[in-house]
């Protein structure tokens, strides 16, 4: 019991420090243009790596994930409304599971 609280404390510290250091240290430092460029690409590279291939295994079966994901990709071409995209992705995989499993 006591031990598990200490573990949580340790987890909190080692999670917070990498989150905090760059944000605080890079405040008034002039970065070289190519470093800035690299950092500006990070969100999109991270999104790519976070989405694929994990999305395939995000619901009960791979096909139901593919259905939800495809629906979301299709909708994302027409709208930026995230609520619509999220709900349609959930609905797509839900309907697949209801009808085909």
């Amino acid at each position: 019991m006591h031990n598990s609280l200490l573990i949580v404390l340790g987890m909190a510290v080692v999670t917070y420090i990498p989150r905090m250091l760059p944000m605080v240290l890079l405040q008034n430092i002039r970065l070289q243009p190519h470093i800035k460029r690299f950092l500006s690409f990070i969100p999109f590279a991270a999104l790519g790596a976070l989405i694929f291939p994990e999305i395939l295994f995000s619901t009960e079966t791979v096909p139901s994930s593919i259905v939800g994901a495809s629906l979301a990709v299709l909708l994302a071409f027409y709208t930026k409304n995230l609520i619509i995209i999220v709900l349609s992705g959930i609905l797509g995989s839900l309907l697949y599971q209801i009808f085909f499993l």
């Binding site: 989150r19 500006s40 990070i42 999109f44 995209i85 999220v86």
Partner: protein
């Protein structure tokens, strides 16, 4: 005016909150079912606030892993936030105080970071503190609310819905990425390189993989590095 930026942040965070609740419920259920003290689960969501690492930690605790091992695994899994923090530091309003910066850093997750990064508020391209605070607060609240629901009430969602909601955050990522991929060729390439390299690490047996945390860091850096190499100038709207 400050207030409206905060409200705007709350509003922008709704999709994240929607996606967090079912995952946090699952985390609460797992924690309770592994016989880990409820207080430990609550404190973990309050002080760590990093989804995947919390699942892994609860798993390791139930297996009786050593404290040091659990903490080291958490560090490795969450180290990707270092990259995200560096990237976000360049998007933050320059005059944001050190106190505000250290507060905001606690709220950096894959989801809050990506959403903030693709957001451009009309007035200028830099992000103000109240907006990020709102965005992170609603996400944090949803994460903790979900945790308590899972810990104390178990599964209040039907199984089939809980299963389907596992895709929520991934399709949100799609919604964040596609508009930028459509308008910028460099971004399209960067995202594709990251996806392909992550898949290669995971699926091709002779390419050595590391832990999930390092795999994401490596493929993210590879994607951003290729982008910088191929498109060093900011002439396209990347």
């Amino acid at each position: 005016m400050k207030n409206s930026l905060f409200l705007q942040g709350l509003k922008y965070g709704i999709p994240i909150a929607l996606g967090y609740i079912p995952i946090a419920i699952a985390f609460g259920i797992l924690t309770a079912s592994e016989g880990i003290p409820l207080l430990t689960g609550m404190l973990m969501s309050l002080t760590v606030f990093a989804g995947a690492s919390q699942f892994v930690a609860v798993n390791l605790m139930s297996l009786g892993a050593a404290s040091g091992e659990i903490i080291l695994t958490t560090f490795i899994l969450n180290f990707r936030h270092f990259l995200m923090s560096a990237s976000l530091s360049q998007r933050l309003k320059e005059d944001t105080s050190l106190t505000y910066r250290s507060m905001l850093s606690f709220g950096i997750t894959d989801e809050t970071f990506s959403l903030a990064s693709v957001t451009t508020l009309e007035e200028n391209s830099k992000l103000p503190f109240p907006f990020l605070a709102g965005l992170m607060l609603i996400s944090f609240t949803a994460w903790n609310t979900g945790t308590w629901i899972g810990l104390f009430m178990g599964n209040i969602l039907p199984d089939i819905l809980q299963n389907s909601m596992g895709i929520a955050l991934y399709v949100m990522f799609i919604g964040l990425l596609v508009p930028s991929m459509k308008t910028s060729f460099p971004i399209l390439m960067v995202a594709i390189v990251a996806m392909l390299s992550h898949s290669a690490i995971i699926f091709i047996p002779w390419i050595p993989g590391f832990s999930a945390g390092w795999n994401i860091i490596l493929s993210t850096m590879l994607g951003a590095f290729c982008g910088t190499l191929l498109f060093p100038k900011e002439d396209s709207n990347a």
